[in-house]
């Protein structure tokens, strides 16, 4: 094994940068990036991507929200390229394993390249069976975190840390857990925005969201007839009214009993939204992804109805990111805690106070509904949230979309992307995807860290 390459200092370019075309130059800079950030954010981006030698499609799409992008990018840079307990090639390999769980060929391909670039052993890429035992041991946790994070227990952690030849150190494991959750949720984002692999010849259609007319709304396209458009207009109006009502009249719901609140949560949690499930064992599934998969049938499963044995609900207040998660991660892998915290905050508070064609709207209720709904489908309950709001604010199509992207992103289709919020801008749909990404990551991370905490005490 060769020693891994160090990150190049800003100003230097990695070897392959010459071959890749810089999408910024080709497309012009003003389109992809909204003007809020102005010039400084552009510089920030440039600075960020010079070392990598290219701007990948993920960054391009996230570029619609530059404030978030810089936070996201810093975290990813730290995870992959800065000092940390794991060697560089293993980090990329873990990324591959994580992305393969969701059959995300885009991320798998990307990191296969990176893996080789930092001096990874090409033999490992033949499949999981060729990787060292230590990495293979991680597969169980990878599988759980990807699909049913609530099943992860301290025994899993214990098994990995048990002294022995292929044991993990706690610091390594925490980095691996962060990497896994990061790439699971990034896979959600990739599918949610329909980001396609980067091929030299076809960059133009990198994704279905921010087409060159990135600020136009899809409804203005030819997908809808006149009546459909007015329907969509009404949807927006209704949504706005409901938000307003909820914000003003929250106190009037006093009559709701605790039992009912609990029932509402259970309802949301167990509701199975039927998604046109493509065959999971799609024969077209590329073999280069399948080889990183063990137990490919394992996937998200709807919570069983009450009465059957369901895992106990995760009470958000008993293990919060701000208090417990951060404190733990800050001890075991210090730099990343700060950055993750920043990232969660940025995304949770990100708003332009606009909604579709309306300006000056307080969207906090809506954002909280989306965030909590994602946590809800992973079984995390907030005592202080009325899950009735989710039903009020999120239309069925949106819920289908959110649940699909969060739980089985590989089934996302352009159709369900187009079906919800037909009058909204693409950038707003990307915004939802960002919320989704982070909420999902936090949910899985909370489960993982709680298991680590239990192991430690």
């Amino acid at each position: 094994m060769e020693p891994p390459k160090q990150p190049l200092p800003p100003g230097a370019r990695s070897g392959d940068s010459g071959q890749r075309r810089c999408p910024f130059r080709r497309r012009g800079t003003s389109r992809g990036v909204p003007q809020e950030g102005g010039e400084s954010s552009l510089h920030q981006l440039l600075e960020a991507f010079v070392p990598a030698g290219r701007v990948d499609h993920v960054a391009l799409v996230m570029g619609l929200h530059p404030q978030y992008l810089s936070s996201f990018w810093k975290t990813q840079y730290l995870l992959l390229r800065m000092d940390g307990p794991l060697p560089y090639h293993k980090r990329h390999y873990i990324a591959i394993m994580a992305a393969a769980r969701h059959r995300c060929s885009y991320l798998v391909g990307l990191h296969m390249g990176e893996f080789l670039q930092v001096g990874g052993n090409p033999a490992w890429l033949q499949g999981l069976h060729c990787a060292p035992q230590k990495l293979r041991n991680l597969n169980e946790v990878n599988k759980l975190l990807a699909h049913r994070p609530w099943l992860i227990t301290k025994e899993h952690i214990e098994a990995l840390l048990k002294p022995g030849q292929d044991s993990w150190s706690l610091a390594e494991l925490v980095q691996a857990l962060v990497l896994l959750t990061h790439y699971h949720s990034l896979a959600s984002f990739v599918f949610g925005c329909g980001i396609k692999p980067e091929e030299e010849q076809d960059v133009g259609s990198s994704c279905w969201a921010p087409s060159p007319h990135s600020n136009s709304s899809p409804a203005s396209g030819d997908t809808m007839g006149g009546s459909g458009a007015t329907d969509a207009m009404q949807e927006v109006q209704v949504l706005m009214e409901r938000m307003k009502l909820l914000q003003e009249n929250q106190l009037e719901e006093e009559g709701v009993t605790q039992e009912e609140m609990a029932t509402r949560f259970e309802l949301e949690k167990t509701e199975s939204l039927l998604v046109p499930s493509s065959d999971i064992l799609d024969p077209s599934l590329q073999s280069n992804i399948r080889c990183f998969l063990e137990d490919p049938e394992f996937g998200y499963k709807d919570f069983t109805r009450r009465g059957e044995q369901a895992p106990p609900t995760f009470r958000a207040q008993d293990y919060t990111w701000e208090d417990h998660g951060y404190s733990l991660i800050n001890r075991l892998y210090p730099e990343v805690g700060q950055l993750l915290d920043e990232k969660f905050q940025v995304v949770y508070n990100l708003t332009y106070n606009t909604i579709a064609m309306h300006c000056g709207v307080d969207t906090s209720v809506l954002r909280r509904a989306i965030w909590n709904y994602v946590h809800c489908v992973f079984g995390i309950r907030y005592d202080d949230y009325d899950y009735g709001e989710v039903n009020q604010l999120l239309e069925r199509n949106l819920k289908v979309y959110i649940k699909t992207v969060a739980c089985y992103p590989e089934r996302t289709t352009k159709q369900i992307y187009a079906q919800f919020w037909r009058h909204f801008k693409h950038s707003e749909k990307v915004h939802i995807n960002l919320l989704l990404l982070e909420a999902r990551m936090q949910a899985a991370l909370l489960y993982a860290l709680r298991a680590v905490t239990r192991y430690m005490t």
Partner: protein
């Protein structure tokens, strides 16, 4: 400590009594609070809400407030507080945002009194006014604080923090109208209860959430805060700007802080995660807790002093479902376990030693420190004002032991470092060169090692294996030295410590330092020579001087003649020190020798057994049988280990680099890394930056290699607008000007830029150099007389 056992009766007649005790709760606790008379405690959590009475020997469950078949979320408590005026009144904060008051005087089983459902999010904290019976304050995740009058159904006023969630609210104990609130974004706000429109003042106390705060019970201006950034800070609020007066750094996020009653400077803390202990700090001594309670097995979630005026009883609740009463005299005192001595070795062989004064001042013939011949050295005595609750006086004394100038000289090290060739030439040449260097510095043993390496690895032909007379076994040079390591013989002990220490560099080898300091301390204790600086240092010097000579001296006789014909063999007798696995080499060994070897082994308990015999016989057979050079790898490895052990990492690292692949696999990565870091540290302390960088570059350890790849960025500011230039180093994005123009050629400098620190003009390195050869004025024409050195 005996002082500690003293129990004062601050309570007047009815002093509290009790012992350290605990009881199991049915569920994890989130918060606890005591009744004013210190006889009862309430425990609240998600699934528990009970009152226990504190008896002499045990906790007794008095009341379960969690009633009803299917307890609602209103019982899921994040915080609980017992009114300090009315012993029937309690308030809880529920995770679903409800504030509940409880009246124990109610006749029914359900003691729930009032329900305030005004907060939209989880309520993190409730707090009663210290003197007003009906005033209750709450702080919630939704960013609002609400003040309730318990006689009314709704809140009387709402305070908006205008920021993220409120983590703690506390009424000031002395100022009737004031309360403090802490926020998730790191701010602390002070409010006047009469003015809900705007806070009185606000300051940023921590980086990240401030989880808790506590007003000092006596000093009205002091507020302690604890945050996720692992700090406890004490603020003086009397001045117009809140001033941080004390800061304690803990090891985990601080979940609760509570001032200790009757002790002005003591504060108890517990942490949010990871660390389960409760600490009591003296804020003036922030580095070590003055007391520690280690009973809990999961994080402590609530701490409270049992009585307002008793500093010896602390109650705590924890996630591990236990409730504890801690008694101060059972606390563990980390200070007892701390090592109060410090030891540090200087580059030039001086040794500084700091210890508690009581240990040192007993020595009557101690002379005051006069001063160093070369450098000023501090000699400080510090006496802390001893206070009532000070258990350990913290005065200490520092002794400095000097080496005498010649023997302490490290010139050889510097010269060797500068002259060694480590790469770029064939192995044989490198070895020869280095051997010559070593020889030039009178380091014959090292010189011979190099020569030997050349012979082993580059198999230069004819080496006549002459008769080797190996009578040197008993006189193994290092032996006396090593034994002295174990003996309670101070000067020698110091000597060997120092060698060790110097070679490794203090920072890297804590454990070794520990050992050495403890040996030292023993010595000090027993023989009390520590104070006398002068004798100690000449002795030290003595040993130092020996060290190199020793080898030569002791072995002069056996080898004097050999020196002529063959260097390599001569080297062998000196290498008594090598550890080896005798079993593997047994067949080569002289039978007569083996017992002797074991004898030696027994003598040198602590260090490497002596094996020179086997070595020699090997070398003997080597040249007849033409063994592959791999065969010698274990021996070479042991040589290196020996050198490193002796404190000469320089030789070890140099050989390692020169031999490269040939030997690398033999030595485990960690040891190599250790050597490298020690050597690099030494080089840097001698300011041999170039050489240290070369070593870093040549090293094959990954950890070392990346040393000079970290922080390679150089940040520059634009010379016009003084802002940082983010993009490129030579053109400013803001003022669109090229920042660094060469004063000579008037082009932009993109590479090395040299500038005069007097007039700040400069340019291409080459241009400036050239210019200043002929002129002494600045090329820019500013008239400054620039200097280039």
């Amino acid at each position: 400590m005996e002082k500690m056992a003293r129990v004062t009766t601050a309570l007047g007649g009815n002093a509290l009594t009790g012992r350290t005790m605990f009881c199991h709760l049915d569920a994890p606790a989130n918060a606890i609070s005591v009744c004013r008379d210190a006889a009862q405690v309430v425990v609240a959590g998600r699934n528990i809400f009970k009152i226990y009475s504190i008896e002499e020997e045990q906790f007794v469950e008095k009341l379960n407030l969690r009633v009803g078949r299917k307890p609602s979320l209103n019982f899921s408590c994040a915080d609980v507080v017992w009114h300090q005026m009315d012993e029937n009144l309690l308030a809880t904060a529920a995770t679903n945002g409800v504030v509940v008051t409880w009246n124990l005087g109610k006749p029914s089983r359900n003691k729930q009194d009032q329900l305030f459902t005004e907060h939209k999010r989880t309520v993190n904290k409730v707090c009663f006014h210290p003197t007003e019976v009906y005033m209750l304050l709450s702080g919630s995740q939704d960013g609002y604080m609400k003040c309730f009058d318990l006689r009314k159904k709704d809140s009387v006023s709402t305070f908006s923090g205008q920021s993220e969630s409120v983590r703690d609210v506390q009424f000031s104990i002395r100022d009737y109208f004031t309360f403090a609130a802490t926020f998730e974004n790191g701010n602390v706000q002070l409010w006047d209860i009469r003015r809900p429109d705007r806070y009185e003042r606000m300051f940023t106390a921590h980086n990240g959430p401030v989880f808790c705060c506590d007003w000092h019970p006596e000093d009205r201006g002091w507020l302690a805060t604890g945050g996720r950034d692992k700090m406890v800070k004490v603020w003086d609020m009397n001045t117009t700007r809140a001033k941080e007066i004390y800061c304690v750094q803990t090891i985990a996020s601080v979940a609760r802080v509570k001032w200790r009653p009757e002790c002005k400077h003591h504060i108890a803390t517990c942490s949010m995660m990871v660390d389960h202990n409760i600490y009591v700090w003296d804020v003036r001594r922030p580095f070590i807790p003055s007391a520690m309670f280690e009973e809990h097995k999961d994080v402590t979630t609530g701490i409270v002093w049992r009585h307002l005026h008793d500093p010896y009883f602390l109650l705590s609740g924890s996630k591990d479902s236990t409730l504890y009463q801690h008694i101060f005299k059972d606390a563990s005192q980390p200070i007892d376990r701390a090592n109060p001595e410090g030891l540090c070795y200087s580059l030039y062989g001086d040794l500084a030693f700091a210890a508690k004064e009581s240990l040192i001042s007993s020595d009557s013939n101690r002379k005051p420190y006069i001063g160093d011949r070369r450098h000023p050295i501090f000699f400080k005595r510090k006496l802390d004002p001893t206070e009532q609750f000070e258990y350990i006086s913290s005065s200490s004394a520092l002794s400095v032991f000097e080496t005498d100038v010649e023997s302490g000289s490290m010139d050889w090290f510097v010269h060797t470092a500068k002259q060694y060739a480590l790469a770029g030439r064939p192995l044989a040449e490198l070895c020869d060169h280095n051997a010559k260097v070593a020889k030039g510095l009178d380091r014959n043993q090292v010189a011979q090692t190099w020569t030997m390496l050349r012979i082993i690895y580059s198999s230069l032909g004819t080496v006549s294996s002459t008769n080797l007379n190996h009578s040197m076994g008993k006189g193994s040079a290092a032996l006396p030295l090593m034994n002295s390591f174990n003996l309670k013989d101070i000067p020698a002990g110091l000597g060997s410590e120092s060698r060790l220490d110097r070679s490794k560099g203090e920072s890297r080898t804590e454990n070794i330092l520990m050992d050495s300091s403890s040996t030292l301390i023993n010595n000090e204790d027993n023989e009390e020579t520590e104070g006398s600086d002068v004798p100690a240092d000449y002795l030290l010097g003595d040993v130092e001087a020996d060290e190199d000579d020793l080898y030569m001296m002791d072995h002069e006789n056996p080898h004097a003649e050999e020196q002529e014909y063959s260097l390599p063999q001569e080297a062998f007798p000196l290498r008594h020190e090598i550890v080896d696995n005798p079993s593997a080499l047994d067949h080569l060994q002289d039978k007569a020798d083996s017992p002797h070897v074991s004898g030696n082994e027994a003598e040198t308990v602590s260090l490497t057994p002596v094996e020179s015999f086997s070595l020699i016989s090997i070398s003997h057979s080597l040249y007849e049988n033409r063994l592959p050079s791999d065969f010698f790898n274990p021996i070479v490895r042991d040589t290196l280990l020996f050198y490193a052990e002796q404190g000469d990492v320089q030789t070890a690292v140099s050989v390692l680099i020169v031999l490269g692949e040939r030997i690398r696999k033999e030595i485990d990565e960690q040891t190599q890394e250790h050597w490298y870091t020690s050597y690099i540290d030494l080089l840097q302390r001698f300011q041999l930056w170039n050489i240290s960088n070369e070593v870093i570059k040549l090293s094959t350890c990954r950890a070392i290699n990346c040393l000079n790849q970290a922080s390679t960025t150089l940040h520059v500011n634009c010379s016009n607008c003084k802002r940082p230039m983010s993009n490129r180093g030579w053109i400013c994005d803001r003022c669109r000007q090229c920042a660094s123009m060469c004063a000579v050629c008037h082009h932009v400098v993109k590479g090395l830029f040299v500038w005069c620190q007097g007039c700040s003009h400069g340019g291409h390195l080459q241009h400036i150099m050239k210019w200043l050869e002929t002129s002494s004025h600045c090329p820019a024409g500013c008239g400054h007389l620039c200097e280039y050195t």
